[in-house]
Point group: D2
Chain length 362, copies 4
């Protein structure tokens, strides 16, 4: 129930950061879907550290090997398993963590959960590296969705409070999302890049880190997907999104800003446009009663600042039961937000494919 | 997959607003747990409209009849089903909705999803009335949790931007949560009540509505609950919370505010306190890597302004395909936030009991 | 995970034999399906004791009240809940069971499982009475299937080794199954009735009981339903069938007889018939690799002899830890096989509707 | 939902017979469990063809590579993934199957299910080779169970009607099961071997095949595991067992033989033995009301004769829609029953570990 998700599209993720390999098995995919491996590779690369200046110097090669589920470039309908070998690690950086849990990390909670037996090297199964299999799965799903007229894309909404131009929830369209989902520092307005990078650089120099918000949209999703109560689109998407390390909040449409509006401001009036039912505004983010309206789905995820910072921090020694100090060595991302963008897109892609399958739209 | 949730504690909710009855079946409860029916009734009453000045005049009697799963005041371990009869409805208020979907409601999306066959009277299965069974389930669960030292309580964090005093995420304690969970207009600081009620009254006079934010905390939860990735505490809680109508955002700990902090500001240092591992601050809201730390779990849900407003609104006529207008009659809550408080507590209680069962703590 | 089953068609059963009521919630039904309540009643009556000479004199009125999910005679798509009140019980018959578990019953195992808190009256949640909600659910499902050309019917294959004429697995057809599923003592060959009833009567006179086998078939099921491995038709059906009390074996096609055949005897050759792919024989019972072939699905369930017999039996006293004796009073069915027939049909109907929904055939 | 199973112990199997590799991911295992890799290898070898005279000359090396979930010989609690490379195949043997489905195989049903896109080489995902990952998973689970006093073992109950000595359902014990689960042609009474091998050899000479029955037992399982209705031990075990290719029937205790007994013959009286509640006989096979009694669990699976036979068979040409003939070349097992023995044990081990986890016994 933890590293497994979904029905009828099922995701099973395995791997630890410093183990032999990580990967994912996708079950329930429709058969006969052509999958472009180069496009998969582009998505994997957007996530990998070392491609962008903000990121960790650790260079992972996320070349997935497909072990099953594909034949002659098409899905067979049987489970599709992809394996990514871990090749570029330095175990020594993590030596003293078994007794000194790092603040903000899952060292302490994993220790309690697994009675000390979990693999802590690089964070083990909790490592951000485990987003690579999720991006692979999402990249497969999004190709299947694209073929059905659905586009998914995300951008850096903000880093350290420095904002990009947000999506227009009515007019956001496929071409914009296509463009964003092929960028490494995804922004709607390029002018936001410099101040954002400055903020990140400042953090690096201070041995600190910063967080931000990722905004994601999906267009072309037919109306009528999802189910009331616990099978709603928000439930399904958030159950995946909160599986991305560092995500501490998820909102749809106006989200928390809706709390300050009146009903007459927030309600989206209906209107016929070219024979289709549309809404004039889209404060709802494309979802009413847990079910899609056909308008763009718009959501935002809050990414906490990276827990790994080189500053000295207070902690405890789990063996002696005494207070202690810790200065984490190693190679840290001062800001993972740019790399979280393709991960958010991936989670949304897997969720929407599941909703499409459930709604008999595949 | 929609009105069903959970494993090993399973929730199955049924009912439509104007049908014969609504209810819930809870499966997987531990056997032998004493359930105080009067306490259940208190929780049901907090949710029901007509008890508080902000609410709808429609007075529901949410007296649940327990059909199974209890014997001599204790759970038997077999599924516990509770039925609530619908007695106080006026069908006539909703007559023209079959072709004129109300903005902000699930009329249109339900129509597409169920090809026009869904029961729309009072919103049918999408109605806010369906939170009554959820409150019942939560009330049962919270008694089982209380017995194990866990308290859950929530308050109105804000209405229309008017804020209450927020929880102190380190010091929030059982007595405060106990007090809040027995109030009808739950506030930490009573001085916030008047301005909040004013804002609601203004909305009512304008034939409009307002939204707000509910903040909930759980204390006494042992460390080590939850699983990495998709079985994390945030995933489990949000999958239930987004099932509450009108919830458009969920955040944990600092939530979206964390996006503006640095790592050194957001990380919670560990410290030994009376032989226990605690954190000095609690920006994480009691959860790291999806697993509980033992510190208070703190979360916030964004409640959009009630969609039902009496102002005239633009919509479409689903039969003729023309634009149209709509003025909804009937009895509307200009603000459901006070009544959402016990519903949020209920969802959190069900989720935490599930995590406790999964973690072998029952 | 116990009294809940299925996805996307979900079944949640509640109730104890002597509690206020029993019932079922069916979630995931397609919307707009007309349900004939009289036909439902006929199916409920086939199962109820007191309609057939072999059965218990206890007369239950299984009149279900539909609480939700139906409007103007059609499913709304929202969860459909039916409640059956318990009205005709005599608690006194079961007084001493809390310490003297009856052999063959779940008294002992339920006591261990629920630490003594389970409701034992009439067997509580383990009672055969809990097949009534399953029959209701199956009756709803079979109407939806019938509309799509699928017929399901079962007969008494044998009682105490006295056999009926078995189904011809190639030629069994809708009219035969229709006829069988409206009989109270369902037989293909009426001449088997007399010897069977004699065997039952002999058992009654001896304060004993007999068991038998129920054979069920489904015709008109399209090819291609089910999934390999654990989602196969046999897996799905058996996971429901073993939930019927007293079922101790399930086999498909030739079943255990296949173990004595050679491959050339058991393989079903393919042949074109009127442009359709058919098999010449049907030893496979309509299933290959867990997936339907389009040929009739044929299966058999072994029903153990009713555990409730009036003979004195050896048991233990769970309080004193001593050996003891027990003579169960009360009203017992010497043979439940005739009444198990509609229950087997019901389980098969629910399972096949789930497979149809999963295979996008609804 | 197909190649995935279980909660909280979850199994995800991937792979096609002639693809790069097959494997399994096991999620939810308890942390800190020592796993003996040599013992795993022994179990894998029992299943692999080429070790026993009855089997296919195709020699698979089932050397699993563990990619995650283990550290220093112990489970970490994170998902455990094992990969087995496919190395010894001859694609050419299967060339004409895309249009001529083999009787008794999933060629036709897989073609319909996956619209012709499934990988048919060697049977693809339907191949018996996919039992290797299941055996791996079972081998891991059984070590965890053994540590808790639970033994599982199976034997060839019969081949082509030639029987071994069956288990004594009361006295079957750990040492016997240990012995059987380390044999390649598992028999209680060695004298059955010769006539069985003769029957197999006769089949081989006739270009035919034979089937049989595998009987499995588990001892040391505590009482009180399982849940009523659909969560019962029979439901859980059969949902896995029917995932083994060629299984067409599953029975527990006396199974289908119970249908010929009377209640007084079939009921198992209770008796105190050394302060423990036991039953004098064990017709119930260790399960009452879906819950374990503490007595040995005994079950039988019917294995149909291998579908792959070299005789010419009638089939259809799926492209031309004409009748046709087929003679399958290649290397076929005339009897897979001896190799099914470890697979049945594996399925039972996975299921019982799941029940133990669910019952908080781990």
């Amino acid at each position: 129930m933890s590293s497994n998700w979904g029905n009828p599209i099922h995701l099973s993720i395995f791997g630890e950061s410093h183990g032999p390999g990580i990967g994912v098995t996708l079950d329930g995919l429709p058969a006969g879907e052509a999958i472009d491996l180069d496009e998969l590779q582009i998505q994997m690369a957007r996530r990998a550290p070392g491609h962008d200046r903000t990121a960790t110097p650790r260079k992972e090669k996320d070349l997935p090997e497909i072990l099953s589920g594909m034949l002659e470039g098409r899905t067979t309908g049987a489970p599709l398993c992809a394996l990514i070998r871990n090749t570029n690690t330095r175990s020594g950086d993590y030596q003293n963590l078994s007794v000194l849990p790092r603040p903000g990390h899952a060292d302490y909670t994993g220790y309690i959960r697994y009675q000390g037996y979990n693999d802590i090297r690089g964070g083990g199964h909790f490592s951000g590296r485990l987003t690579a299999p999720l991006v692979f799965a999402g990249a497969v799903c999004r190709q299947i969705l694209k073929r059905r007229g659905i586009d998914i894309g995300a951008h850096i909404y903000s880093i350290r409070g420095i904002v990009d131009q947000p999506f227009d929830p009515v007019d956001v369209d496929g071409p914009l999302l296509q463009r964003l989902s092929h960028m490494n520092f995804s922004l709607v307005n390029p002018e936001a890049e410099l101040p954002m990078r400055d903020a990140v650089e400042q953090a690096r120099l201070s041995l600190d880190s910063v967080g931000g918000i990722v905004e994601c949209a999906a267009v072309g999703v037919p109306a009528g997907l999802g189910s009331p109560m616990f099978g709603g689109v928000e439930n399904v998407l958030s159950s995946l999104l909160f599986g991305i390390p560092a995500v501490k909040g998820v909102e749809f449409g106006d989200g928390f800003a809706a709390a300050d509006l009146t009903g007459s401001q927030h309600n989206d009036p209906f209107r016929m446009v070219d024979g289709n039912v549309r809404t004039v505004t889209n404060h709802a983010g494309g979802i009413l009663g847990g079910i899609t309206t056909g308008m763009p789905i718009v959501l935002r995820t809050a990414i906490k600042p990276t827990a790994s910072i080189s500053q000295t921090q207070n902690t405890v020694d789990l063996v002696t039961g005494q207070n202690a100090e810790l200065a984490v060595q190693g190679r840290h991302d001062p800001c993972i937000v740019p790399r979280a963008v393709p991960v958010v897109e991936a989670a949304v892609a897997v969720a929407i494919l599941n909703l499409m399958a459930e709604g008999n739209k595949l």
